[in-house]
Symmetry: C2
Subunit: 546 residues, 2 copies
């Protein structure tokens, strides 16, 4: 078991905490804005957490050991606790506030497709719910150990032992991968052959290929390499009804597309065990350009044109004025050097007639050969009259810390500040109206001091992803507080024409909204398919299908 799983109460590495300097501007700001608590409340001790007693009978325990190997069946409280939650804000609130929660009755570790097939047959016969578990980083309750009333117990199936790279084909630019491999291990293996998958979600270090596929995810460089749905050539999925395989081909017109029924299936149709993925030779160079653009409207126009003109950036991130201010505060140092820097920035903005409180931070990354990047840098200057260039440095800084931000959430939760994110994708024509609606409506359900930040990323020719973050002082009932906000913001996004999720998926927390996204026919179709592949609904109950 990878060591990071030991940190059951928060994000990522056990040893790591977001460093929040009490003498910093940022600390002062948070204290003032959200009445932040000075001291960080330590997370509860493992021994303080009372897990429900395991419902696994001795005979079941022995049967599991026989089926999957005695070393692969765990029932100790620590392992059960570590698999009792994902990394959603409500999950972490529950952990932190010691709210009594469900836990799997046992955790088993798969080492082969054959043993998974056996386990599925067994669980089906014995009416035991089974939760496929990759990295456990779901922010929507995708791995929560739910069961139906008819199930006698719930077991989590951890796939991290199935972490082999089975083949890297340098001619076809494909790699055949076991689904339990974590991001860094996969990239290391590909990099050794001078390839990359190019899939870097914020959860990269703590999520698996299987999880990326099950949630139909996207990485930070998806506009260059593609979303995971573009990268999957073929899949192998073990279901109670048998093993499903899709054909390993680059493209096809032989009817509806089978693999697009399995991508995004959230562990509810079967256990994703293997994938053939498209890989790309590692680009030689990477470059960053950053700007302050006049305002959000202008910023949206600029990022749209960058994409529609095929400039082929590898990343675009446009922060709205609120997020820009927040990041400026976050990164503002004290001392005369910082003062000077601030003065220079203000002078630059004045010259460009850009008001600081309207300015939007724009980060653009490109990857490629020296020649390609030179050409890119030239082309990207088309909007220089409406923006202030900040050079590459803020980009490199972002790059160095791009997987770190989730640690801040734990730091804030521990100091009485509630944080969560919402994301959607929408056509360009509706980007601004959705943006204003969400900002306006979210504020209605926050306290007067609450904050909503937004950035545009993952741009397409036809639209973009909008990513919202809210921060507010936590009430004495943070779970209820969160629920009200989640409900209202999600309804606002859907009413404004946005998708329920651009890259987080469905999980437990989006399930009830699914019908608004897809209409009854497709929700019914998912039910029918579920029933056919998993008639006893043992797989990941309460996710994707009611």
């Amino acid at each position: 078991m990878k060591s990071y799983l030991n940190k059951w109460w928060g994000w990522g590495d056990e040893a790591k905490r977001y460093s929040l300097d009490p003498s910093s501007h940022f600390f002062e700001y948070l204290t003032k804005q959200f009445e932040m608590e000075n001291a960080w409340t330590l997370p509860p001790k493992e021994d303080d957490i009372e897990l429900p007693p395991s419902r696994i009978a001795n005979s079941t325990y022995e049967a599991l050991r026989n089926l999957i190997g005695p070393q692969n069946v765990k029932m100790d409280p620590h392992t059960r606790l570590c698999h009792s939650l994902g990394r959603s804000t409500p999950d972490l609130i529950q952990a932190r506030f010691k709210i009594r929660r469900e836990a799997p009755d046992a955790v088993i570790f798969a080492e082969s497709i054959e043993s998974i097939a056996k386990i599925l047959k067994y669980c089906e016969a014995e009416n035991i719910a089974l939760i496929p578990f990759g990295g456990g980083s779901s922010v929507l309750g995708g791995v929560s150990p739910q069961k139906k009333e008819t199930h006698q117990a719930v077991i989590t199936l951890n796939l991290q032992k199935m972490d082999r790279v089975l083949e890297i084909n340098a001619v076809s630019h494909t790699a055949q991968i076991q689904a339990g491999i974590l991001g860094p291990d996969l990239e290391k293996a590909l990099n050794q052959k001078n390839f990359t998958l190019g899939h870097f979600p914020q959860s990269f270090e703590f999520s698996t290929v299987g999880g990326w596929i099950a949630t139909r995810g996207s990485g930070q460089n998806s506009i260059f390499y593609g979303n995971i749905s573009d990268l999957v050539l073929a899949l192998k999925v073990v279901t109670p009804a048998g093993i499903l395989e899709t054909k390993k081909i680059p493209a096809s017109s032989t009817g509806p597309d089978a693999k697009n029924l399995l991508i995004g299936s959230e562990g509810a149709f079967g256990v994703i065990v293997e994938a053939t993925l498209k890989i790309t030779p590692r680009p030689v160079f990477r470059t960053f350009e950053t700007f302050l653009v006049k305002d959000f409207k202008m910023g949206v126009k600029v990022v749209r044109e960058i994409e529609q003109d095929h400039l082929r950036p590898s990343l675009i991130r446009l922060s709205d004025a609120h997020e820009t201010q927040f990041f400026l505060t976050m990164n503002r140092s004290k001392g005369w050097k910082a003062y000077l820097k601030q003065r220079l920035l203000k002078m630059g903005l004045k010259k460009k007639k850009i008001a600081l409180d309207q300015a939007c931070f724009l980060l653009v990354e490109a990857q490629g050969s020296h020649e390609e990047l030179t050409s890119f840098k030239k082309k990207i200057r088309f909007f220089r009259s409406q923006s202030l260039s900040l050079g590459g440095e803020p980009g490199w800084k972002w790059h160095a810390t791009r997987f770190e931000l989730p640690y801040l959430r734990d730091e804030l939760l521990g100091r009485g500040i509630l944080v969560d994110t919402f994301e959607t994708a929408i056509l360009w024509e509706n980007v601004e109206s959705l943006y204003h609606a969400v900002i306006h409506e979210t504020k209605k359900v926050l306290t007067p001091k609450g904050l909503v930040l937004c950035h545009v990323s993952h741009v397409y020719a036809t639209g973009a992803c909008l990513y919202f973050t809210f921060l507010d002082k936590a009430s004495s009932q943070p779970l209820d507080q969160w629920r009200v906000i989640k409900e209202h913001v999600t309804q606002t996004i859907l009413s404004a024409g946005g998708t329920l999720s651009h890259h987080h998926g469905v999980g437990r927390d989006h399930l009830k909204f699914l019908i608004q996204e897809h209409g009854p026919w497709f929700v019914e179709e998912l039910k029918v398919m579920k029933h056919r592949l998993d008639p006893k609904h043992i797989l990941n109950p309460g996710k994707l299908v009611e």
Copy 2:
């Protein structure tokens, strides 16, 4: 009704015939190789074709007129005949040899979604099979008027009156289109706003948006603009169970993908009535480069590297040595100018140490700005030492005649030569083995003089489409002859790891092979979905689902 529908016995325009000059090299070659008949047998006269009597009762006729408007119900022999077949080789053999064939009992023309919904309800209640009909250009029997034993009649539903462009959005780069519009009408409307869909199948002039989507097609420039599955943002489909709509969004991670169940549904799940498509600003310039590459192996390597190095051509077409020879013969003129040209070519080849009988013709097209094309032309020279450049002229010639080749099939069929095509897609690592297997195995089922040609096109980072054409002297039983060839070549393609079809679809002729492509689970899934949306199987029986 568009006038081209008057030509029921062959491809395209009524007035058009492939011009085969009896004094040409090509004519001589065909005569010698295939004992081609000197005179072209005229297609049968319409009056000579005996259609089965219509099974539509008077009461049904009146009901249809009430539901869809009296002007939209036709039962005359001419209209029935024109809707009795697609443009597959067996269809055209049947037409030409006056083999008694099925015909729809009536043809109706839809003008609105509402009337289609009514018609579906009526046909369901009355047990009448309904065949959605776009352009009628299917080469796999996709519009053949089949019915189940339980059906009392079969009606073809022509969609060409639903041909409006509902919206072109220049901000979101989307267009909302009625499904019955033909390629040229759509492009004209888009071009007026300086956009293009970029979807140019060989059937472009005689196929519709609905047909492209129903068969999951690709255009000749798909490597630049995307396959139709990449271009569809959202769909509206009328089924007997109600109207299905998918959400108009650029991307999403909310579970499996609904629209990918409808793309490629071959009219078996519902009638595709509207689509929101991604459009692209028209590139300013177009350029062609053509080459003779040393041999097929080298050619495959070159086209793979062009794609994998992201040179972004808009079209690649690599002919094997057989197809290259065939085209050289086809285009060879007589006279001293042609002689000189031939001499020069041979000298050029000799200098490059390329054997004429091994040489493979490579056509590359790029679209974009002047700057992009200049850069492209520079980059494309990387394989100049292994090839002889022929300049842009043969490319422009290809471009001018790119929709003409299907007329040749009619010309040859009328002179006793059987022609058909097979296409597939496969991973790069298997391109050559599949190529050699198909050439070898096809020859086994042709006469000793039979010919198999191949080109590679529609390249991807991970693989390519291979497109085979065979020509052989027609036997006295051409349908049986065709069936033996079709069966053997298709099995060879599937055994070699290729997909059943890269862009022709499934239709009637690929149905029985579908299980080999998808395995029983997905074929069963299609059945289940069919049964839910169309419980009486009235929609396009015998296609996609048994």
